[in-house]
């Protein structure tokens, strides 16, 4: 095969694809399971946005920290949280990542540097400042990454955290996942600035905007700002323009979208198709290898659902534990 024009080795590219495909399959399957009425509570799906979580996370090490959002499945998978534990958590089972107490909106795995999905918009930004501060004290070059939606980027909590990160010169990265909507509301209306680069400048940090559906665009931008942060160069903001394949949450009728919008983005802005074309056309990976991954991922997700469904429920006794370290 021809030599590799990409910043990642063939194995790394396969890993990136597997991650994106796993997220996609996980979310597509949840969409089906939810419509069957098998999933409790609110579920916000990341389908369509995979290239961003994956492009960022391919630059991170396990000891790097991330703080996620209510739409956190993709961040979890890309950061290395076990898919079976995640699925079981979403089903509220004792074998879940949070022993069934957190659910979709609160999946966390600190051992993987995943500080938690979050039900409160903007709440992850201060936490990431703290993780970055701890890394700075350790002096081990770790960074911390905060994901925030376009809508949540208007939360004061997020905004004042940008200033703190800059003032303390923290190894903190703020990734704005701009999927065009906050629930039903358009980003063009709700975010006053012309560009997130301007908003970053308002807090004295560099800002960049990339196509969040292009894995390589995200990867390369993240590589630059994360490298700088590791070297003590301070925080940065990265806007990833992306698309949301499903509704805000499962059950959303999405009448606020343009007619045909969903079909259009699914065909023209599918990050998995784009990635496949990029790597196959470059002749670095051939389609068959990707198909094989697709099949493996399908099995993995199938198993995770089967396991989750037959996993035991928490017991009444679990209600009263994990409130404090002492009980």
């Amino acid at each position: 095969m021809s030599d590799n024009p990409f910043p990642l080795s063939r194995d790394e590219l396969l890993r990136a694809y597997r991650t994106m495909r796993t997220i996609r399959e996980f979310e597509e399957r949840l969409h089906v399971e939810f419509s069957r009425g098998d999933i409790p509570g609110f579920v916000h799906l990341y389908a369509g946005e995979e290239a961003t979580a994956t492009g960022i996370m391919m630059n991170l090490r396990p000891s790097d920290r991330i703080a996620s959002t209510h739409r956190g499945h993709g961040h979890c998978i890309a950061k290395g949280v076990d898919v079976n534990a995640m699925m079981a958590e979403i089903y509220g089972k004792q074998s879940g990542a949070c022993r069934g107490k957190g659910g979709s909106m609160h999946i966390a795995d600190l051992s993987q540097g995943m500080m938690g999905a979050n039900g409160i918009l903007g709440a992850g930004a201060p936490l990431v400042c703290g993780a970055a501060l701890a890394a700075k004290f350790r002096g081990d070059g770790d960074v911390a990454v905060n994901f925030v939606g376009d809508g949540a980027s208007n939360q004061g909590t997020f905004l004042e955290s940008l200033n703190l990160a800059a003032v303390w010169n923290l190894p903190a990265i703020f990734v704005v996942e701009n999927n065009g909507y906050a629930e039903s509301t358009s980003v063009d209306w709700a975010v006053a600035c012309d560009s997130y680069v301007d908003r970053a400048a308002g807090f004295g940090m560099p800002g960049m905007t990339v196509d969040g559906t292009d894995f390589f665009a995200v990867y390369e931008a993240a590589d630059e700002i994360i490298r700088r942060a590791r070297d003590g160069g301070g925080p940065a903001l990265l806007e990833c323009k992306m698309v949301r394949f499903f509704g805000h949450f499962e059950g959303d009728a999405q009448t606020y979208r343009a007619p045909g919008e969903i079909d259009e983005i699914r065909s023209s802005r599918n990050c998995l198709t784009l990635f496949r074309n990029q790597v196959t056309e470059a002749g670095v990976i051939d389609g068959g290898d990707l198909d094989a991954i697709d099949r493996e991922v399908l099995d993995l997700i199938e198993m995770s659902v089967v396991n989750a469904k037959k996993a035991p429920e928490p017991t009444r006794a679990d209600l009263l534990t994990d409130v404090y370290v002492t009980y």
């Binding site: 409790p40 509570g41 609110f42 509220g92 089972k93 949070c98 069934g100 107490k101 957190g102 659910g103 909106m105 609160h106 979050n118 039900g119 409160i120 918009l121 903007g122 809508g151 949540a152 208007n154 939360q155 004061g156 909590t157 909507y181 906050a182 629930e183 039903s184 509301t185 358009s186 980003v187 063009d188 209306w189 709700a190 975010v191 009728a253 999405q254 009448t255 606020y256 979208r257 343009a258 007619p259 919008e261 429920e313 928490p314 009444r316 679990d318 209600l319 009263l320 409130v323």
Partner: protein, 334 residues
């Protein structure tokens, strides 16, 4: 003319009627219109659960979507209230008050006192409260005790379609800041509601069941669990009086005290966490002011001292049940 509508529809009707009646009433919140700036249908959502659906078509720009900035828009509602408007701001879930509490408790609640009685702040903050939605720890809290603790706020938590309409209308007409707590698991509840507009005064608890053996004091969703418990107990000849507080601040202490004077027994039921709860507040009131009437200890039935768990099994055991309430009554009547 009364007909049967849902708790949710009753809220919508109250907003609609007050907006028609008083041009100074405006409504704001996240996606309460829904679809602002988006390419599709205007008024697409009418709120995350559709409570305000259809109001935009009738009242137009007096309903406003907001950016996701609770301090800014809840504070804006409060500021506008000091300028002659009667804003109704929706805080989607009461759990989100953590990002805007200052505007509520240091600003709205204190203006009148700090300014020597020279300010009026007729703002209503509507918020969903309560567990049972499988929405986990950050979307399921009651937090009513925290708001009730704060002087200058009024706190309302209705239990029926009839009450929610009349109390919301009163809240909008009231000249003090009101936190209007809507239990999300009551939205689907159907009940008789008059078409015409009416206001239910604050600090008037309703005795939803009369009884002579034991008084059960509660509010919100728990009213229905208490009635269920009372029904079960009556089969064993235990006759409970059930009091629905309806407004937590101000609270109708007379109705509570008179009832306990008659029954001599009290069980306080609260979906909130136990420490410094409404249940504790009512217990303390009675232990101080009706002690001599008491024939037994005062029992409390509350959620445990834990966050709200996600797992349906756990959440169902988190929320006080009719069985727990009945057991508490048995402990005081035996």
């Amino acid at each position: 003319m009364a007909r049967t509508i849902s708790f949710k529809a009753a809220i919508n009707e109250a907003l609609d009627q007050e907006m028609s009646r008083d041009p100074s009433v405006i409504v704001m919140g996240e996606d309460i219109v829904g679809g602002t700036g988006s390419p599709g249908e205007a008024d697409a959502w009418g709120g995350v659960l559709g409570v305000t659906k259809g109001l935009y078509a009738k009242h137009g720009d007096r309903l406003m979507d907001t950016p996701l900035s609770e301090s800014a828009y809840i504070g804006a509602a409060i500021g506008a209230a000091t300028c002659g408007m009667r804003p109704v701001a929706e805080l989607m879930f009461i759990d989100f008050m953590g990002v805007c509490l200052d505007q509520i408790y240091n600003q709205a609640a204190k203006f009148r006192y700090m300014f020597g009685g020279k300010a009026e702040t007729p703002v209503v903050i509507r918020a969903m409260v309560g567990a049972g939605f499988r929405a986990a720890a950050q979307h399921s809290q009651m937090l009513t005790p925290i708001l009730t603790h704060i002087p200058g706020l009024k706190v309302v938590c209705p239990s029926t379609p009839y009450d929610v309409k009349g109390l919301l209308i009163q809240s909008i007409r009231d000249n003090d800041p009101v936190i209007f707590c809507e239990h999300k698991n009551l939205y689907a509840l159907e009940g008789e509601v008059p078409e015409e507009s009416y206001a239910i005064p604050f600090a008037e608890a309703s005795v939803v069941r009369e009884g002579k053996d034991c008084t059960i004091v509660t509010y919100g969703l728990m009213v229905h669990r208490a009635i269920e418990a009372a029904g079960a107990l009556s089969k064993d000849g235990i006759d409970c009086e059930v009091i629905d507080l309806r407004t937590l601040s101000p609270m109708d202490t007379d109705t509570i005290l008179e009832s306990v004077e008659a029954t001599g027994r009290l069980v306080c039921v609260d979906e909130a966490n136990p420490r410094c709860s409404i249940a504790a507040d009512v217990s303390a009131l009675v232990a101080q002011q009706a002690f001599s009437a008491l024939k037994a200890q005062i029992e409390m039935v509350t959620a445990p001292h834990t966050p709200v768990p996600f797992s349906p099994v756990l959440e169902d055991s988190y929320i006080p049940s009719a069985q727990q309430i009945a057991a508490a009554v048995r402990r005081v009547v035996d």
